[in-house]
């Protein structure tokens, strides 16, 4: 309305101004015409006395007609000019407005329309400016929420998640104090696991029973966000619940608690607590904890709105999910640790057991058989009857055969070589037997290991991995030859077992879950990782398979440059 009045007054002023100017021009020109007309009149009166009345009438009529036409033309011109001028003024402002709208549309939220005057355009401009301010605030909020989601989503460390989240929330909400409670493992007490802006004693001593009647406990138990403000508390059982914050009535039929602040907030009362908001940290409808923010009069004059509670509740949900993820991850991690420990124990025990049995076979059974052979041999010569002699001879041979078998059994369980003479000797021996058994050409190339012993667990693991890898080659590879490289260089030992067989599609075999076909590969990998090493397999169909094992070992006794000494020359 104002704009229209303004517009009218403006048009009026312009029209009047133009009219005055035209009237002045007309007055002057009329006067000049009058002067000339008077002369003319006098002259004609002197010359024609016959009909003076007719002549005057004719002259006057012509004069009046001229006046009228001139006036009409002037008024039309004036009206046209005032419209053009009006248009200039209004369109110019609208154009500036449009420019700002375009800039805002392009994302420049700092662009502001200049507001002057009191008309509708100015009002519109003010409304527009308010809108961009709000937009700017919302954008900031969303970007903070996004940052928050990203930050807490990236971490799987609970303490890091909670502290980061709290910092972000306080910054977003623009308040000075906040804390996060979680239930203890017994579900009986709440304790603060992260806090900002709380007096030290509040943060330290804040562990209280869950049957306390305060809003934190209520939020934990009910899963509803709550705000305590100016001595009253207000519940919202859903984030978008409407209703003024200072309403005393329960919302949606939910009775607000008649209880007080939670203990931590109580510490802030002296500083002039204005509000204390509590939101649940939920994941899949399970409340895992409570996040609180509190504002005090001195530093947070800002009022907590329902909108803020919505935002806070939304953040609470995100944190809840992050907590859930972190605890699932932690559970998984612990299980993995346990699994590794069990596996390591299992492997160690098995090796020890095999070693013990092999030794027993060797020492006890073997020696008794040896003694038996000698005795039977003596007996054979001592008995005179050829028949009995032959029987004893058979017994002696059987004993020798059993001794061989016992020895092979012991070797199979765990080669004593590995303990007595080391990995190199054990591998050499194993490879020779393997080569004979499977009719494969085995090329064994040790480097940098002459006279060196590696730690027993490394030797055992490398021996077992080699065994496994070679068993795989014999069973699946259809290879003609296989190379076994064992090199100690610097601070690591590398084992490479490479065959020239048919190869396989590694991704296909290793991506599937462990089954009988790829279990051997998984076992080798586990074995390597248990002693801190890595195992890589490369295979291309038609080009064979290579297994690379790298195990870190204590830096050998210096001479790394000597690694060529074992070469063919």
């Amino acid at each position: 309305m104002k704009t229209r009045a303004y517009y009218h007054s403006l048009r009026f002023k312009i029209t009047m101004g133009l009219l005055l100017a035209v009237i002045a021009v007309l007055a002057i020109s009329s006067y000049l015409r009058y002067v000339s007309f008077r002369d003319l009149l006098t002259e004609s009166l002197e010359h024609s006395v016959d009909s003076p009345g007719e002549a005057i009438e004719a002259q006057l009529a012509a004069y009046v007609r001229g006046r009228v036409i001139l006036s009409v033309i002037s008024i039309v011109v004036i009206l046209l000019m005032s419209d053009v001028l009006m248009g200039r003024v209004v369109v110019g402002r609208l154009r500036q407005f449009l420019g700002v709208v375009k800039r805002v549309g392009d994302g420049d939220l700092d662009a502001k329309v200049v507001t002057e005057g009191e008309d509708e355009i100015a009002e519109l401009a003010e409304a527009f400016n308010r809108m961009t301010d709000e937009l700017q605030r919302q954008t900031r909020k969303l970007s903070t929420l996004n940052t928050l989601a990203t930050t807490i989503g990236q971490s799987l460390d609970l303490s890091e998640i909670l502290n980061t989240a709290l910092d972000e929330v306080l910054e977003l909400m623009d308040v000075g104090a906040g804390w996060i409670n979680v239930q203890d493992e017994h579900g009986e007490k709440m304790r603060i696991v992260a806090s900002r802006g709380l007096p030290e004693e509040a943060a330290m001593a804040h562990s209280y029973c869950l049957w306390n009647e305060d809003i934190c406990t209520d939020v934990l138990q009910s899963g509803r966000s709550q705000v305590f403000r100016n001595g009253e508390d207000h519940s919202f059982d859903k984030p978008n619940a409407v209703g003024p914050l200072n309403a005393v009535e329960p919302l949606n039929g939910v009775e607000p608690l008649s209880t007080g602040l939670c203990p931590a907030a109580g510490y802030l009362q002296e500083d002039g607590l204005i509000f204390h908001a509590c939101v649940p940290l939920k994941s899949k409808d399970v409340v895992l904890g409570v996040m609180s923010v509190a504002g005090v009069a001195a530093s947070d004059p800002w009022m907590f709105t329902e909108d803020s509670l919505d935002t806070l509740t939304a953040i609470g949900r995100q944190i809840g999910i992050a907590i859930e993820n972190a605890s699932l991850y932690e559970e998984l991690r612990q299980k993995e640790v346990l699994r590794r420990q069990l596996l390591e124990r299992e492997i160690t025990l098995r090796e020890q057991e095999r070693k013990r049995i092999a030794r027993d076979l060797h020492d006890q059974t073997g020696q008794r058989l040896t003694s038996m052979i000698m005795t039977l041999s003596l007996l054979e010569e001592a008995v005179p009857a050829p028949e009995v002699q032959a029987r004893v001879r058979d017994l002696r041979d059987t004993a020798a055969q059993v001794l061989k078998e016992v020895r092979d059994l012991a070797l199979h369980l765990r080669p004593s070589l590995l303990d007595d003479l080391g990995l190199l000797a054990a591998l050499r021996h194993y490879l020779k037997r393997y080569q004979n058994r499977y009719r494969l050409i085995v090329d064994f190339q040790p480097l940098g290991l002459d006279g060196k012993r590696l730690p027993p667990d490394v030797e055992t693991a490398l021996f077992r991995i080699t065994q496994q890898a070679l068993t795989n080659v014999a069973r699946h590879a259809e290879a003609h030859s296989v190379t076994v490289l064992l090199e100690h260089r610097g601070t690591s030992v590398q084992l490479i077992v490479e065959d020239n067989g048919k190869g396989f599609d590694l991704a296909q075999v290793m991506d599937s879950r462990p089954h009988e076909g790829n279990l051997g590969l998984y076992c080798m990998r586990e074995r390597a990782s248990l002693i801190g090493g890595t195992l890589t397999i490369e295979s291309t169909p038609g080009r064979g398979t290579a297994v690379f094992v790298r195990i870190p070992v204590e830096g050998g006794k210096g001479d790394d440059g000597q690694d060529s000494s074992a070469g063919g020359g």
């Binding site: 060797h362 020492d363 073997g366 020696q367 008794r368 058989l369 040896t370 003694s371 052979i373 000698m374 005795t375 039977l376 041999s377 003596l378 010569e381 002696r396 020798a400 001794l403 061989k404 020895r407 070797l411 004593s416 070589l417 007595d420 003479l421 000797a425 054990a426 050499r428 021996h429 020779k432 090329d443 064994f444 190339q445 480097l447 030859s481 190379t483 076994v484 490289l485 090199e487 590398q494 490479i496 490479e498 020239n500 890589t536 490369e538 291309t540 080009r543 290579a546 690379f548 440059g561 690694d563 060529s564 070469g567 063919g568 020359g569």
Partner: protein, 229 residues
């Protein structure tokens, strides 16, 4: 009649010692002059008795049969050592021979071979369990074969890239690692490798590594600008 061969029997198992005692007592030219139950006491008794031949078990609790053999041979040049063991494998044989033993008898053949072995080593000759001789010969023949293969050399015919791949394969890098270091695809590395092995007439990774060693290529790693500090 000539002097009997004076024997020291070393074994940690009483049944074996007793058996050996009985067995050797039937040999008219031999005489067991002492026994020992482990390496340390074996050295002690040997120094004391100065036997002609020591019959030595290798595995005695902690395996010190080898150490004892080394010590005895070093300190008593006239005394010979026959190893009597369950270990039917050339790794122990190698170790035993290096330690200075000149006889090696398996326990499963103790009754038929120990007396023979004692007489042979006493004469200053070597007695090995017959099947081992074959193994040793095979080793010798094989080594000779592998060595000859590298005489012809096509290194100069390799492209720079092939030389790079050769060096890195010899150093034990995986194809993926080589690909990353040389900014090539894994497939290309495989191709280079197959081609260079054909040019150099190398049949396996083992041969490739030995070739690189002979050529001193593995030491180039310090000069490799991509290897970093």
């Amino acid at each position: 009649m000539m002097d009997k061969i004076r024997l020291l029997v070393v074994d940690d198992h009483p049944v074996v010692r007793a058996g050996l005692h009985t067995l050797l007592a039937t040999q008219p030219d031999m005489e067991v002059v002492g026994e020992a139950v482990d390496g340390a006491s074996a050295v002690e008794r040997a120094l004391e008795l100065q036997p002609d031949v020591v019959v030595m078990d290798l595995t005695m609790g902690e395996m010190d049969g080898l150490a004892a053999t080394r010590e005895i041979v070093a300190r008593l040049p006239e005394t010979k050592v026959v190893v009597l063991t369950m270990h039917a494998n050339e790794e122990y044989l190698r170790q035993a021979l290096q330690a200075g033993a000149t006889g090696y008898v398996l326990k499963e053949a103790v009754d038929t071979e120990i007396a023979v072995a004692i007489r042979v080593v006493q004469r200053g000759e070597v007695f090995l369990y017959p099947s081992f001789t074959r193994v040793l010969l095979a080793d010798l023949v094989q080594d000779g074969e592998t060595d000859d293969r590298f005489q012809q050399d096509g290194y100069e015919r390799l492209s720079d890239r092939e030389k790079d791949v050769l060096r890195l394969v010899a150093l034990g890098d995986t194809n993926r690692e080589i690909a990353e270091r040389l900014f090539l695809s894994v497939r290309t590395v495989e191709t280079y490798r197959a081609r260079l092995m054909e040019k150099l007439n190398l049949k396996s990774r083992g041969e490739l590594v030995r070739y690189a060693l002979r050529r001193g290529l593995r030491h180039d790693e310090v000069k490799d600008p991509l290897a970093g500090g």
